[in-house]
Protein backbone atom coordinates (compact mmCIF):
# COMPACT_ATOMS: atom_id res chain seq x y z
CA UNK A 1 0.00 0.00 0.00
CA UNK A 2 1.39 3.34 -0.96
CA UNK A 3 1.57 6.15 1.50
CA UNK A 4 -0.12 8.50 -0.96
CA UNK A 5 -2.10 7.67 -4.04
CA UNK A 6 -3.49 10.03 -6.64
CA UNK A 7 -5.92 8.54 -9.16
CA UNK A 8 -6.76 10.48 -12.30
CA UNK A 9 -6.63 13.84 -10.60
CA UNK A 10 -7.83 16.73 -12.75
CA UNK A 11 -8.29 20.37 -11.89
CA UNK A 12 -9.89 23.02 -14.02
CA UNK A 13 -9.98 26.73 -13.41
CA UNK A 14 -12.74 27.86 -15.69
CA UNK A 15 -11.53 26.85 -19.13
CA UNK A 16 -7.94 26.34 -18.11
CA UNK A 17 -6.91 22.81 -17.26
CA UNK A 18 -4.17 23.04 -14.68
CA UNK A 19 -3.95 19.36 -13.86
CA UNK A 20 -4.83 16.76 -16.46
CA UNK A 21 -5.55 13.28 -15.15
CA UNK A 22 -2.47 12.78 -13.05
CA UNK A 23 -2.04 9.42 -11.38
CA UNK A 24 0.84 8.92 -8.98
CA UNK A 25 1.70 6.51 -6.21
CA UNK A 26 4.21 7.58 -3.58
CA UNK A 27 5.86 4.87 -1.50
CA UNK A 28 6.20 4.93 2.23
CA UNK A 29 9.28 6.84 3.34
CA UNK A 30 10.09 7.94 -0.20
CA UNK A 31 11.39 11.36 -1.23
CA UNK A 32 9.34 12.06 -4.33
CA UNK A 33 10.12 15.16 -6.36
CA UNK A 34 7.59 16.83 -8.62
CA UNK A 35 9.66 18.57 -11.26
CA UNK A 36 8.45 20.86 -13.98
CA UNK A 37 8.57 24.40 -15.39
CA UNK A 38 6.53 27.26 -13.92
CA UNK A 39 2.85 26.90 -14.53
CA UNK A 40 2.98 23.19 -15.27
CA UNK A 41 0.52 22.35 -12.51
CA UNK A 42 2.87 20.80 -9.98
CA UNK A 43 2.05 23.24 -7.21
CA UNK A 44 -1.67 22.91 -7.89
CA UNK A 45 -1.30 19.15 -7.67
CA UNK A 46 0.54 19.46 -4.37
CA UNK A 47 -2.15 21.71 -2.98
CA UNK A 48 -4.78 19.21 -4.01
CA UNK A 49 -2.95 16.51 -2.08
CA UNK A 50 -2.77 18.91 0.87
CA UNK A 51 -6.47 19.68 0.67
CA UNK A 52 -5.99 23.39 0.03
CA UNK A 53 -7.61 23.00 -3.37
CA UNK A 54 -10.46 20.75 -4.28
CA UNK A 55 -9.87 18.59 -7.35
CA UNK A 56 -12.34 18.67 -10.23
CA UNK A 57 -12.10 14.92 -10.67
CA UNK A 58 -10.20 11.97 -9.26
CA UNK A 59 -9.34 10.63 -5.83
CA UNK A 60 -6.63 11.22 -3.32
CA UNK A 61 -5.81 8.44 -0.89
CA UNK A 62 -3.62 8.89 2.12
CA UNK A 63 -2.71 5.76 3.97
CA UNK A 64 -5.21 3.86 1.87
CA UNK A 65 -8.18 6.00 2.89
CA UNK A 66 -9.97 8.32 0.51
CA UNK A 67 -9.60 11.91 1.65
CA UNK A 68 -11.57 13.82 -0.96
CA UNK A 69 -13.37 16.69 0.68
CA UNK A 70 -11.53 16.29 3.95
CA UNK A 71 -9.88 19.52 5.07
CA UNK A 72 -6.10 19.66 5.48
CA UNK A 73 -6.09 19.39 9.22
CA UNK A 74 -7.62 15.94 9.12
CA UNK A 75 -5.26 14.51 6.49
CA UNK A 76 -2.23 14.03 8.66
CA UNK A 77 -0.02 16.17 6.47
CA UNK A 78 2.45 18.95 7.15
CA UNK A 79 3.44 21.56 4.61
CA UNK A 80 6.33 23.96 4.09
CA UNK A 81 5.38 26.90 1.87
CA UNK A 82 7.53 28.79 -0.58
CA UNK A 83 7.69 31.85 1.67
CA UNK A 84 7.50 29.62 4.72
CA UNK A 85 4.23 31.06 6.03
CA UNK A 86 5.55 31.69 9.51
CA UNK A 87 3.10 33.40 11.86
CA UNK A 88 4.46 36.92 12.17
CA UNK A 89 2.74 37.72 15.42
CA UNK A 90 4.03 34.63 17.25
CA UNK A 91 7.47 33.87 18.62
CA UNK A 92 9.36 31.01 17.02
CA UNK A 93 8.48 28.84 19.97
CA UNK A 94 4.79 29.58 19.54
CA UNK A 95 5.11 29.05 15.81
CA UNK A 96 6.42 25.55 16.31
CA UNK A 97 3.97 24.83 19.12
CA UNK A 98 0.95 25.96 17.13
CA UNK A 99 0.16 22.65 15.38
CA UNK A 100 0.27 20.93 18.73
CA UNK A 101 -2.04 23.47 20.31
CA UNK A 102 -4.63 23.12 17.59
CA UNK A 103 -4.56 19.38 18.05
CA UNK A 104 -5.26 19.85 21.74
CA UNK A 105 -2.05 18.14 22.77
CA UNK A 106 -1.81 18.47 26.55
CA UNK A 107 0.36 21.36 27.64
CA UNK A 108 3.04 19.36 29.45
CA UNK A 109 3.79 17.47 26.26
CA UNK A 110 4.10 20.52 24.05
CA UNK A 111 7.28 22.00 25.45
CA UNK A 112 9.48 18.93 25.11
CA UNK A 113 8.24 18.30 21.58
CA UNK A 114 9.05 21.83 20.56
CA UNK A 115 12.47 21.51 22.09
CA UNK A 116 13.06 18.24 20.26
CA UNK A 117 12.08 19.68 16.89
CA UNK A 118 14.15 22.80 17.46
CA UNK A 119 17.14 20.75 18.45
CA UNK A 120 16.83 18.55 15.38
CA UNK A 121 16.93 21.61 13.15
CA UNK A 122 19.55 23.42 15.18
CA UNK A 123 17.41 26.44 16.05
CA UNK A 124 17.09 26.24 19.83
CA UNK A 125 18.76 29.61 20.17
CA UNK A 126 16.03 31.27 18.11
CA UNK A 127 13.02 30.13 20.06
CA UNK A 128 12.22 33.46 21.66
CA UNK A 129 12.65 35.59 18.56
CA UNK A 130 10.10 36.65 15.99
CA UNK A 131 10.08 35.65 12.32
CA UNK A 132 11.00 39.08 11.07
CA UNK A 133 14.27 38.91 12.99
CA UNK A 134 15.40 35.76 11.23
CA UNK A 135 17.31 35.23 8.01
CA UNK A 136 15.88 33.26 5.11
CA UNK A 137 17.75 30.10 6.00
CA UNK A 138 16.70 30.30 9.62
CA UNK A 139 13.08 30.85 8.68
CA UNK A 140 13.18 27.78 6.53
CA UNK A 141 14.42 25.70 9.40
CA UNK A 142 11.64 27.01 11.58
CA UNK A 143 9.15 26.02 8.91
CA UNK A 144 10.64 22.53 8.85
CA UNK A 145 10.54 22.28 12.63
CA UNK A 146 6.92 23.32 12.62
CA UNK A 147 6.15 20.70 10.02
CA UNK A 148 8.06 18.04 11.92
CA UNK A 149 6.50 18.60 15.29
CA UNK A 150 3.12 17.15 14.44
CA UNK A 151 4.48 13.75 13.40
CA UNK A 152 2.78 13.87 10.06
CA UNK A 153 2.25 11.02 7.66
CA UNK A 154 3.68 13.05 4.82
CA UNK A 155 5.70 16.23 4.34
CA UNK A 156 4.71 18.48 1.47
CA UNK A 157 7.31 21.02 0.43
CA UNK A 158 6.54 23.73 -2.12
CA UNK A 159 9.78 25.07 -3.64
CA UNK A 160 11.28 25.76 -0.23
CA UNK A 161 14.70 26.71 -1.60
CA UNK A 162 13.62 29.25 -4.20
CA UNK A 163 13.72 32.15 -1.75
CA UNK A 164 17.25 31.43 -0.63
CA UNK A 165 20.44 32.89 -2.01
CA UNK A 166 22.11 30.67 -4.57
CA UNK A 167 25.00 30.01 -2.22
CA UNK A 168 22.77 28.78 0.54
CA UNK A 169 20.80 26.51 -1.70
CA UNK A 170 23.36 23.79 -2.01
CA UNK A 171 23.89 23.43 1.72
CA UNK A 172 20.16 23.73 2.39
CA UNK A 173 19.55 20.97 -0.13
CA UNK A 174 21.91 18.75 1.77
CA UNK A 175 20.34 19.57 5.10
CA UNK A 176 16.81 18.88 3.96
CA UNK A 177 17.73 15.56 2.42
CA UNK A 178 19.64 14.41 5.49
CA UNK A 179 16.83 15.59 7.68
CA UNK A 180 14.31 13.57 5.73
CA UNK A 181 16.46 10.51 5.79
CA UNK A 182 16.78 10.78 9.52
CA UNK A 183 13.07 11.14 10.22
CA UNK A 184 12.00 8.80 7.45
CA UNK A 185 8.72 10.54 6.68
CA UNK A 186 7.24 10.27 3.20
CA UNK A 187 7.99 13.51 1.40
CA UNK A 188 6.67 15.17 -1.72
CA UNK A 189 8.88 18.02 -2.90
CA UNK A 190 7.95 20.48 -5.65
CA UNK A 191 10.61 22.33 -7.63
CA UNK A 192 11.39 23.73 -11.05
CA UNK A 193 15.11 23.31 -10.51
CA UNK A 194 16.28 20.08 -12.07
CA UNK A 195 19.55 20.12 -10.13
CA UNK A 196 17.58 20.03 -6.89
CA UNK A 197 15.40 17.29 -8.24
CA UNK A 198 18.23 15.12 -9.41
CA UNK A 199 20.19 15.72 -6.23
CA UNK A 200 17.46 15.02 -3.72
CA UNK A 201 14.83 12.76 -5.20
CA UNK A 202 14.50 9.04 -4.67
CA UNK A 203 12.12 9.26 -7.58
CA UNK A 204 11.20 12.16 -9.81
CA UNK A 205 7.87 12.84 -11.48
CA UNK A 206 8.43 15.16 -14.43
CA UNK A 207 5.31 17.21 -15.09
CA UNK A 208 4.47 19.48 -18.00
CA UNK A 209 1.20 21.16 -18.91
CA UNK A 210 -0.68 19.33 -16.24
CA UNK A 211 0.44 15.85 -17.22
CA UNK A 212 3.00 13.49 -15.79
CA UNK A 213 5.59 12.78 -18.47
CA UNK A 214 7.68 10.27 -16.62
CA UNK A 215 8.19 8.88 -13.18
CA UNK A 216 11.50 7.30 -12.30
CA UNK A 217 14.76 7.45 -10.41
CA UNK A 218 17.17 10.21 -11.37
CA UNK A 219 19.21 7.70 -13.30
CA UNK A 220 16.23 6.55 -15.31
CA UNK A 221 15.07 10.09 -16.00
CA UNK A 222 18.48 11.11 -17.21
CA UNK A 223 19.60 8.09 -19.13
CA UNK A 224 16.29 6.78 -20.33
CA UNK A 225 13.95 9.72 -20.89
CA UNK A 226 10.42 8.85 -21.96
CA UNK A 227 9.90 11.77 -24.29
CA UNK A 228 11.46 14.84 -25.76
CA UNK A 229 10.31 17.11 -22.97
CA UNK A 230 11.92 15.05 -20.22
CA UNK A 231 15.04 14.63 -22.30
CA UNK A 232 15.55 18.34 -22.79
CA UNK A 233 14.31 19.53 -19.40
CA UNK A 234 16.84 17.58 -17.38
CA UNK A 235 20.53 18.14 -18.02
CA UNK A 236 22.64 21.23 -18.52
CA UNK A 237 23.26 22.13 -21.26
CA UNK A 238 20.07 20.44 -22.53
CA UNK A 239 20.14 17.42 -24.78
CA UNK A 240 20.80 18.21 -28.40
CA UNK A 241 17.93 17.49 -30.76
CA UNK A 242 18.28 17.30 -34.51
CA UNK A 243 15.52 16.52 -36.93
CA UNK A 244 15.74 12.99 -38.16
CA UNK A 245 13.32 11.39 -40.56
CA UNK A 246 9.96 12.46 -39.21
CA UNK A 247 11.10 12.74 -35.62
CA UNK A 248 14.18 13.76 -33.71
CA UNK A 249 17.50 12.33 -32.77
CA UNK A 250 18.88 13.25 -29.41
CA UNK A 251 22.25 13.08 -27.72
CA UNK A 252 23.64 14.74 -24.65
CA UNK A 253 26.42 17.30 -24.96
CA UNK A 254 28.79 15.24 -22.86
CA UNK A 255 28.36 12.30 -25.23
CA UNK A 256 29.16 14.44 -28.27
CA UNK A 257 32.93 14.14 -28.58
CA UNK A 258 35.64 14.52 -31.17
CA UNK A 259 35.90 11.29 -33.07
CA UNK A 260 39.41 10.64 -31.90
CA UNK A 261 38.27 10.41 -28.33
CA UNK A 262 36.00 7.44 -28.92
CA UNK A 263 38.06 4.33 -29.48
CA UNK A 264 35.58 1.55 -29.05
CA UNK A 265 32.09 0.62 -30.10
CA UNK A 266 29.82 1.59 -32.92
CA UNK A 267 29.48 5.30 -33.43
CA UNK A 268 27.56 7.68 -35.58
CA UNK A 269 29.67 10.41 -37.11
CA UNK A 270 28.82 14.02 -37.65
CA UNK A 271 30.48 16.86 -39.42
CA UNK A 272 30.57 19.70 -36.91
CA UNK A 273 31.58 23.29 -37.38
CA UNK A 274 32.54 25.07 -34.22
CA UNK A 275 31.29 28.65 -33.71
CA UNK A 276 32.33 29.45 -30.17
CA UNK A 277 33.79 27.83 -27.08
CA UNK A 278 33.34 28.70 -23.42
CA UNK A 279 36.01 27.75 -20.94
CA UNK A 280 34.39 27.13 -17.58
CA UNK A 281 37.34 25.70 -15.71
CA UNK A 282 36.07 22.19 -15.06
CA UNK A 283 34.70 21.78 -18.57
CA UNK A 284 34.41 23.41 -21.94
CA UNK A 285 31.14 24.17 -23.70
CA UNK A 286 31.33 24.24 -27.48
CA UNK A 287 28.66 25.81 -29.67
CA UNK A 288 28.46 24.88 -33.30
CA UNK A 289 26.45 23.57 -36.21
CA UNK A 290 25.97 20.19 -37.81
CA UNK A 291 26.44 19.78 -41.48
CA UNK A 292 24.85 17.30 -43.82
CA UNK A 293 21.28 17.77 -42.74
CA UNK A 294 18.51 19.72 -44.37
CA UNK A 295 19.41 22.93 -42.59
CA UNK A 296 22.17 23.84 -40.16
CA UNK A 297 21.24 22.81 -36.64
CA UNK A 298 22.81 24.15 -33.51
CA UNK A 299 24.45 21.60 -31.30
CA UNK A 300 26.45 21.97 -28.12
CA UNK A 301 29.22 19.78 -26.85
CA UNK A 302 30.54 19.51 -23.32
CA UNK A 303 34.19 18.56 -23.27
CA UNK A 304 36.45 17.81 -20.36
CA UNK A 305 39.28 20.35 -20.62
CA UNK A 306 42.17 18.01 -20.01
CA UNK A 307 41.78 15.44 -22.76
CA UNK A 308 41.32 17.67 -25.70
CA UNK A 309 43.82 20.42 -26.34
CA UNK A 310 42.34 23.83 -26.98
CA UNK A 311 43.99 24.34 -30.33
CA UNK A 312 42.40 21.31 -31.90
CA UNK A 313 38.92 22.78 -31.60
CA UNK A 314 39.12 26.05 -33.43
CA UNK A 315 36.12 28.12 -34.42
CA UNK A 316 35.24 28.21 -38.08
CA UNK A 317 36.61 24.83 -38.89
CA UNK A 318 34.88 21.57 -39.60
CA UNK A 319 35.60 18.72 -37.24
CA UNK A 320 34.60 15.11 -37.12
CA UNK A 321 32.55 14.47 -33.98
CA UNK A 322 30.76 11.30 -33.01
CA UNK A 323 28.32 9.77 -30.54
CA UNK A 324 28.27 6.18 -29.36
CA UNK A 325 25.21 4.48 -30.79
CA UNK A 326 24.08 3.29 -27.40
CA UNK A 327 23.83 6.89 -26.24
CA UNK A 328 21.58 8.04 -29.05
CA UNK A 329 17.90 8.62 -28.38
CA UNK A 330 15.24 8.50 -31.05
CA UNK A 331 12.03 10.39 -30.72
CA UNK A 332 9.03 9.94 -33.00
CA UNK A 333 6.90 12.74 -34.36
CA UNK A 334 4.81 12.92 -31.18
CA UNK A 335 7.92 13.41 -29.13
CA UNK A 336 7.75 9.98 -27.56
CA UNK A 337 10.81 7.88 -27.22
CA UNK A 338 11.09 5.24 -29.92
CA UNK A 339 13.32 2.24 -29.74
CA UNK A 340 14.46 2.04 -33.32
CA UNK A 341 14.88 4.68 -35.97
Amino acid sequence: MSAISANEISKNFGEVTAVDRISLAVRDGEFMVLLGPSGCGKTTFLRIIAGLEQQSAGDILIGGAVVNGVPPRARGIAMVFQSYGLYPHFTIRDNIAFPLKTQRVPKPQIRPKVAWAAQLLGIEHLLDRRPRQLSGGERQRVALARALVRDPTVFLLDEPLSNLDAKLRASARNEIKQFQQRVGTTTIYVTHDQVEAMGMGDRIAVINQGKVRQVGTPTTIYEDPADRFVATFVGTPPMNLVTWNSGHLGFRPEHFLPKEMIQDGAVTEFSYRVNRTEYLGSERIVYGELDGLLSPQEVTAKLPPAHVPLESIRPGEWHAFAVRNGQLCYFDEDGKRARRH
Binding site: V66, G76, T153
Partner: protein, 309 residues
Protein backbone atom coordinates in the same frame (compact mmCIF):
# COMPACT_ATOMS: atom_id res chain seq x y z
CA UNK B 1 -2.45 6.64 9.51
CA UNK B 2 -5.10 5.14 11.65
CA UNK B 3 -6.01 8.57 12.89
CA UNK B 4 -6.95 9.73 9.42
CA UNK B 5 -9.11 6.78 8.66
CA UNK B 6 -11.02 7.35 11.86
CA UNK B 7 -11.94 10.87 11.03
CA UNK B 8 -13.36 10.14 7.65
CA UNK B 9 -15.86 7.43 8.24
CA UNK B 10 -19.36 8.31 9.22
CA UNK B 11 -21.66 10.90 7.81
CA UNK B 12 -21.45 13.00 10.92
CA UNK B 13 -17.91 13.88 10.02
CA UNK B 14 -18.99 15.10 6.63
CA UNK B 15 -21.14 17.75 8.25
CA UNK B 16 -18.40 18.49 10.70
CA UNK B 17 -16.41 19.96 7.85
CA UNK B 18 -19.12 21.97 6.16
CA UNK B 19 -17.82 25.31 7.38
CA UNK B 20 -14.44 24.54 5.93
CA UNK B 21 -15.82 25.07 2.51
CA UNK B 22 -15.08 28.63 1.44
CA UNK B 23 -18.44 29.04 -0.24
CA UNK B 24 -20.34 28.09 2.86
CA UNK B 25 -18.32 30.21 5.24
CA UNK B 26 -18.29 33.07 2.76
CA UNK B 27 -22.06 33.03 2.55
CA UNK B 28 -22.35 32.95 6.32
CA UNK B 29 -19.94 35.87 6.68
CA UNK B 30 -21.63 37.96 4.06
CA UNK B 31 -25.20 37.46 5.15
CA UNK B 32 -25.42 40.04 7.95
CA UNK B 33 -24.01 42.83 5.81
CA UNK B 34 -26.10 41.97 2.78
CA UNK B 35 -29.21 41.60 4.89
CA UNK B 36 -28.64 44.96 6.51
CA UNK B 37 -28.18 46.66 3.19
CA UNK B 38 -31.10 45.00 1.54
CA UNK B 39 -33.47 45.74 4.37
CA UNK B 40 -32.42 49.24 5.24
CA UNK B 41 -31.21 50.60 1.94
CA UNK B 42 -32.75 48.51 -0.79
CA UNK B 43 -36.18 48.26 0.76
CA UNK B 44 -36.47 51.95 1.60
CA UNK B 45 -35.39 52.83 -1.89
CA UNK B 46 -38.14 50.71 -3.36
CA UNK B 47 -40.51 52.20 -0.84
CA UNK B 48 -39.54 55.69 -1.97
CA UNK B 49 -40.37 54.83 -5.54
CA UNK B 50 -43.60 53.31 -4.37
CA UNK B 51 -44.56 56.41 -2.42
CA UNK B 52 -43.73 58.63 -5.33
CA UNK B 53 -46.19 56.71 -7.41
CA UNK B 54 -48.95 56.82 -4.83
CA UNK B 55 -50.99 59.45 -3.02
CA UNK B 56 -49.56 58.76 0.39
CA UNK B 57 -49.53 61.45 3.02
CA UNK B 58 -49.15 61.11 6.75
CA UNK B 59 -52.68 62.17 7.29
CA UNK B 60 -54.10 59.98 4.61
CA UNK B 61 -51.86 56.94 4.26
CA UNK B 62 -53.41 55.48 1.17
CA UNK B 63 -51.55 53.32 -1.26
CA UNK B 64 -53.52 53.74 -4.36
CA UNK B 65 -51.53 54.14 -7.48
CA UNK B 66 -51.56 57.50 -9.18
CA UNK B 67 -48.94 56.91 -11.82
CA UNK B 68 -46.60 59.74 -12.62
CA UNK B 69 -48.96 62.42 -11.45
CA UNK B 70 -46.81 63.40 -8.50
CA UNK B 71 -43.80 63.85 -10.68
CA UNK B 72 -45.73 66.03 -13.08
CA UNK B 73 -47.08 68.18 -10.29
CA UNK B 74 -43.65 68.55 -8.80
CA UNK B 75 -42.04 69.51 -12.07
CA UNK B 76 -44.68 72.10 -12.73
CA UNK B 77 -44.16 73.91 -9.47
CA UNK B 78 -41.99 77.00 -9.53
CA UNK B 79 -40.34 76.23 -6.29
CA UNK B 80 -39.17 72.93 -7.61
CA UNK B 81 -37.68 74.42 -10.73
CA UNK B 82 -35.95 77.02 -8.66
CA UNK B 83 -34.68 74.35 -6.31
CA UNK B 84 -33.36 72.17 -9.09
CA UNK B 85 -31.53 75.08 -10.59
CA UNK B 86 -30.11 76.02 -7.20
CA UNK B 87 -28.89 72.51 -6.63
CA UNK B 88 -26.96 72.50 -9.87
CA UNK B 89 -25.58 75.97 -9.33
CA UNK B 90 -24.42 75.18 -5.84
CA UNK B 91 -22.91 71.88 -6.75
CA UNK B 92 -21.06 73.03 -9.81
CA UNK B 93 -19.97 76.28 -8.24
CA UNK B 94 -18.67 74.80 -5.06
CA UNK B 95 -17.01 71.85 -6.77
CA UNK B 96 -15.10 74.05 -9.16
CA UNK B 97 -14.05 76.42 -6.43
CA UNK B 98 -13.14 73.52 -4.21
CA UNK B 99 -11.15 71.81 -6.95
CA UNK B 100 -9.11 74.88 -7.75
CA UNK B 101 -8.33 75.46 -4.12
CA UNK B 102 -7.66 71.79 -3.71
CA UNK B 103 -5.25 71.54 -6.62
CA UNK B 104 -3.14 74.47 -5.50
CA UNK B 105 -3.33 73.45 -1.88
CA UNK B 106 -2.05 70.02 -2.78
CA UNK B 107 0.89 71.44 -4.69
CA UNK B 108 1.74 73.60 -1.69
CA UNK B 109 1.66 70.85 0.86
CA UNK B 110 3.47 68.42 -1.40
CA UNK B 111 7.01 69.27 -0.46
CA UNK B 112 8.16 69.11 3.14
CA UNK B 113 8.72 72.37 4.93
CA UNK B 114 8.97 73.32 8.58
CA UNK B 115 5.57 73.27 10.22
CA UNK B 116 4.07 71.15 7.48
CA UNK B 117 2.42 68.78 9.92
CA UNK B 118 0.62 71.59 11.70
CA UNK B 119 -0.40 73.21 8.44
CA UNK B 120 -1.80 69.93 7.26
CA UNK B 121 -3.72 69.44 10.49
CA UNK B 122 -5.26 72.88 10.20
CA UNK B 123 -6.13 72.61 6.54
CA UNK B 124 -7.96 69.35 7.15
CA UNK B 125 -10.27 70.91 9.73
CA UNK B 126 -13.15 71.98 7.45
CA UNK B 127 -13.58 68.45 6.25
CA UNK B 128 -12.89 66.73 9.54
CA UNK B 129 -15.28 68.62 11.73
CA UNK B 130 -18.98 67.72 11.67
CA UNK B 131 -20.63 69.60 8.87
CA UNK B 132 -23.43 71.00 11.01
CA UNK B 133 -21.08 72.48 13.58
CA UNK B 134 -18.83 74.09 11.03
CA UNK B 135 -21.88 75.54 9.33
CA UNK B 136 -23.08 77.02 12.58
CA UNK B 137 -19.73 78.73 12.95
CA UNK B 138 -20.15 80.22 9.50
CA UNK B 139 -23.66 81.25 10.39
CA UNK B 140 -22.19 83.25 13.20
CA UNK B 141 -19.58 84.69 10.89
CA UNK B 142 -22.27 85.84 8.50
CA UNK B 143 -24.50 87.24 11.21
CA UNK B 144 -26.33 90.35 10.09
CA UNK B 145 -25.16 92.47 12.99
CA UNK B 146 -21.98 90.97 14.30
CA UNK B 147 -20.40 89.48 11.21
CA UNK B 148 -16.68 89.45 11.63
CA UNK B 149 -16.33 89.60 7.86
CA UNK B 150 -18.21 92.85 7.74
CA UNK B 151 -16.22 94.19 10.64
CA UNK B 152 -12.99 93.43 8.78
CA UNK B 153 -14.16 94.99 5.58
CA UNK B 154 -15.28 98.12 7.41
CA UNK B 155 -12.05 98.31 9.35
CA UNK B 156 -10.09 98.06 6.12
CA UNK B 157 -12.07 100.98 4.87
CA UNK B 158 -13.62 99.08 2.02
CA UNK B 159 -17.14 99.98 3.01
CA UNK B 160 -19.11 101.81 5.63
CA UNK B 161 -21.42 100.35 8.21
CA UNK B 162 -24.44 101.43 6.28
CA UNK B 163 -23.39 99.47 3.23
CA UNK B 164 -22.49 96.36 5.15
CA UNK B 165 -24.17 93.49 3.38
CA UNK B 166 -26.67 91.29 5.12
CA UNK B 167 -25.06 88.12 3.95
CA UNK B 168 -27.78 85.69 4.69
CA UNK B 169 -30.59 88.11 4.17
CA UNK B 170 -30.22 88.93 0.52
CA UNK B 171 -31.01 86.28 -2.06
CA UNK B 172 -27.94 86.67 -4.26
CA UNK B 173 -25.57 86.95 -1.35
CA UNK B 174 -27.18 84.05 0.44
CA UNK B 175 -26.53 81.82 -2.53
CA UNK B 176 -22.95 82.98 -2.60
CA UNK B 177 -22.60 82.14 1.07
CA UNK B 178 -23.89 78.64 0.54
CA UNK B 179 -21.46 78.09 -2.31
CA UNK B 180 -18.58 79.40 -0.26
CA UNK B 181 -19.33 77.17 2.70
CA UNK B 182 -19.75 74.17 0.44
CA UNK B 183 -16.46 74.84 -1.28
CA UNK B 184 -14.75 75.50 2.02
CA UNK B 185 -15.91 72.17 3.30
CA UNK B 186 -14.89 70.34 0.15
CA UNK B 187 -11.44 71.70 -0.60
CA UNK B 188 -9.47 69.80 2.09
CA UNK B 189 -10.91 66.60 0.71
CA UNK B 190 -9.83 67.74 -2.75
CA UNK B 191 -6.34 68.38 -1.41
CA UNK B 192 -6.16 64.92 0.08
CA UNK B 193 -7.33 63.33 -3.14
CA UNK B 194 -4.88 65.30 -5.27
CA UNK B 195 -2.05 64.50 -2.89
CA UNK B 196 -2.92 60.85 -3.02
CA UNK B 197 -2.95 60.98 -6.77
CA UNK B 198 0.23 62.95 -7.21
CA UNK B 199 2.24 60.82 -4.84
CA UNK B 200 1.02 57.81 -6.74
CA UNK B 201 2.85 58.97 -9.84
CA UNK B 202 6.03 56.94 -9.96
CA UNK B 203 9.11 59.06 -9.62
CA UNK B 204 10.86 57.41 -12.52
CA UNK B 205 8.09 58.44 -14.86
CA UNK B 206 8.59 62.03 -13.79
CA UNK B 207 12.34 61.73 -14.11
CA UNK B 208 12.04 60.28 -17.58
CA UNK B 209 9.86 63.21 -18.56
CA UNK B 210 12.32 65.70 -17.17
CA UNK B 211 15.18 64.06 -19.02
CA UNK B 212 13.06 64.10 -22.16
CA UNK B 213 12.87 67.87 -21.80
CA UNK B 214 9.35 68.42 -20.46
CA UNK B 215 8.97 71.66 -18.55
CA UNK B 216 6.80 72.24 -15.52
CA UNK B 217 3.47 72.81 -17.26
CA UNK B 218 3.89 70.09 -19.82
CA UNK B 219 4.93 67.66 -17.13
CA UNK B 220 1.92 68.66 -15.19
CA UNK B 221 -0.71 68.36 -17.83
CA UNK B 222 0.48 65.63 -20.09
CA UNK B 223 2.04 63.29 -17.62
CA UNK B 224 0.62 63.86 -14.17
CA UNK B 225 -2.99 64.58 -14.99
CA UNK B 226 -3.66 61.42 -17.00
CA UNK B 227 -2.08 59.26 -14.34
CA UNK B 228 -3.90 60.78 -11.41
CA UNK B 229 -7.17 61.19 -13.28
CA UNK B 230 -8.75 57.95 -12.02
CA UNK B 231 -8.18 58.72 -8.35
CA UNK B 232 -9.16 62.34 -8.77
CA UNK B 233 -12.29 61.52 -10.68
CA UNK B 234 -13.41 59.01 -8.08
CA UNK B 235 -12.81 61.54 -5.33
CA UNK B 236 -14.51 64.25 -7.31
CA UNK B 237 -17.57 62.14 -7.86
CA UNK B 238 -17.80 61.40 -4.18
CA UNK B 239 -17.59 65.07 -3.39
CA UNK B 240 -20.14 65.92 -6.00
CA UNK B 241 -22.60 63.33 -4.78
CA UNK B 242 -22.34 64.56 -1.23
CA UNK B 243 -22.68 68.19 -2.21
CA UNK B 244 -25.54 67.54 -4.57
CA UNK B 245 -27.57 65.65 -1.99
CA UNK B 246 -26.70 67.62 1.09
CA UNK B 247 -29.24 69.60 3.02
CA UNK B 248 -27.38 70.49 6.20
CA UNK B 249 -25.58 73.57 4.99
CA UNK B 250 -28.62 75.19 3.48
CA UNK B 251 -30.84 74.14 6.35
CA UNK B 252 -28.62 75.74 8.92
CA UNK B 253 -27.46 78.80 7.05
CA UNK B 254 -30.61 79.95 5.43
CA UNK B 255 -33.27 77.28 5.79
CA UNK B 256 -34.13 77.89 2.20
CA UNK B 257 -34.47 81.61 2.64
CA UNK B 258 -34.52 84.36 2.09
CA UNK B 259 -37.81 84.05 0.33
CA UNK B 260 -37.04 80.62 -1.11
CA UNK B 261 -33.88 81.79 -2.79
CA UNK B 262 -31.65 78.98 -1.72
CA UNK B 263 -33.25 75.62 -1.17
CA UNK B 264 -31.67 72.57 -2.70
CA UNK B 265 -33.37 69.32 -3.54
CA UNK B 266 -32.58 67.87 -0.16
CA UNK B 267 -34.27 70.73 1.62
CA UNK B 268 -37.33 70.62 -0.54
CA UNK B 269 -37.72 66.92 -0.01
CA UNK B 270 -37.38 67.47 3.71
CA UNK B 271 -39.80 70.35 3.71
CA UNK B 272 -42.49 68.62 1.74
CA UNK B 273 -42.03 65.05 2.84
CA UNK B 274 -41.19 65.36 6.50
CA UNK B 275 -42.34 68.70 7.72
CA UNK B 276 -45.52 68.89 5.73
CA UNK B 277 -46.17 65.20 5.80
CA UNK B 278 -46.82 64.91 2.09
CA UNK B 279 -44.81 61.78 1.63
CA UNK B 280 -45.79 61.16 -1.96
CA UNK B 281 -44.63 64.48 -3.32
CA UNK B 282 -41.63 64.54 -1.05
CA UNK B 283 -40.52 61.20 -2.42
CA UNK B 284 -41.03 62.45 -5.95
CA UNK B 285 -38.79 65.43 -5.28
CA UNK B 286 -36.08 63.30 -3.70
CA UNK B 287 -36.13 60.84 -6.55
CA UNK B 288 -35.11 63.57 -8.92
CA UNK B 289 -31.69 63.19 -7.45
CA UNK B 290 -31.46 59.70 -8.72
CA UNK B 291 -30.78 60.20 -12.45
CA UNK B 292 -27.88 62.51 -11.74
CA UNK B 293 -26.49 60.11 -9.16
CA UNK B 294 -26.83 57.20 -11.49
CA UNK B 295 -24.95 59.04 -14.21
CA UNK B 296 -22.15 59.97 -11.85
CA UNK B 297 -21.84 56.40 -10.61
CA UNK B 298 -21.54 55.04 -14.14
CA UNK B 299 -18.78 57.50 -14.91
CA UNK B 300 -17.04 56.59 -11.70
CA UNK B 301 -17.23 52.87 -12.39
CA UNK B 302 -15.46 53.41 -15.69
CA UNK B 303 -12.65 55.15 -13.87
CA UNK B 304 -12.43 52.53 -11.15
CA UNK B 305 -11.97 49.87 -13.80
CA UNK B 306 -9.17 51.81 -15.34
CA UNK B 307 -7.49 52.36 -12.02
CA UNK B 308 -7.32 48.68 -11.28
CA UNK B 309 -4.84 48.38 -14.11
Amino acid sequence: MVAIAEKIHGSRSRFQFVFDRPRVLGAAFLTPAILYILLLVGLPFLLAVYYALSAYTIYNPSYHFVGLRNFVEVVESDIFRRTLLNTFIFTIGSQILGLILGKFGALLVLRPFPGRKIVRALIILPWAVPIALATVAWEWMFDSLYSVINWTLIALGLMSRADAPNWLGEPGLAMLCVIIVNAWRFFPFAIVIFLAGITAVPQDVLDAATVDGAGFWRRNYQIIVPIIAPIVVVGLIFGTVFTFTDLSIVYLLTNGGPVNATPVLGNLGFQIGILSGDVAHGAAVSLFMFPVLFLLVIVMLRFIRRREI
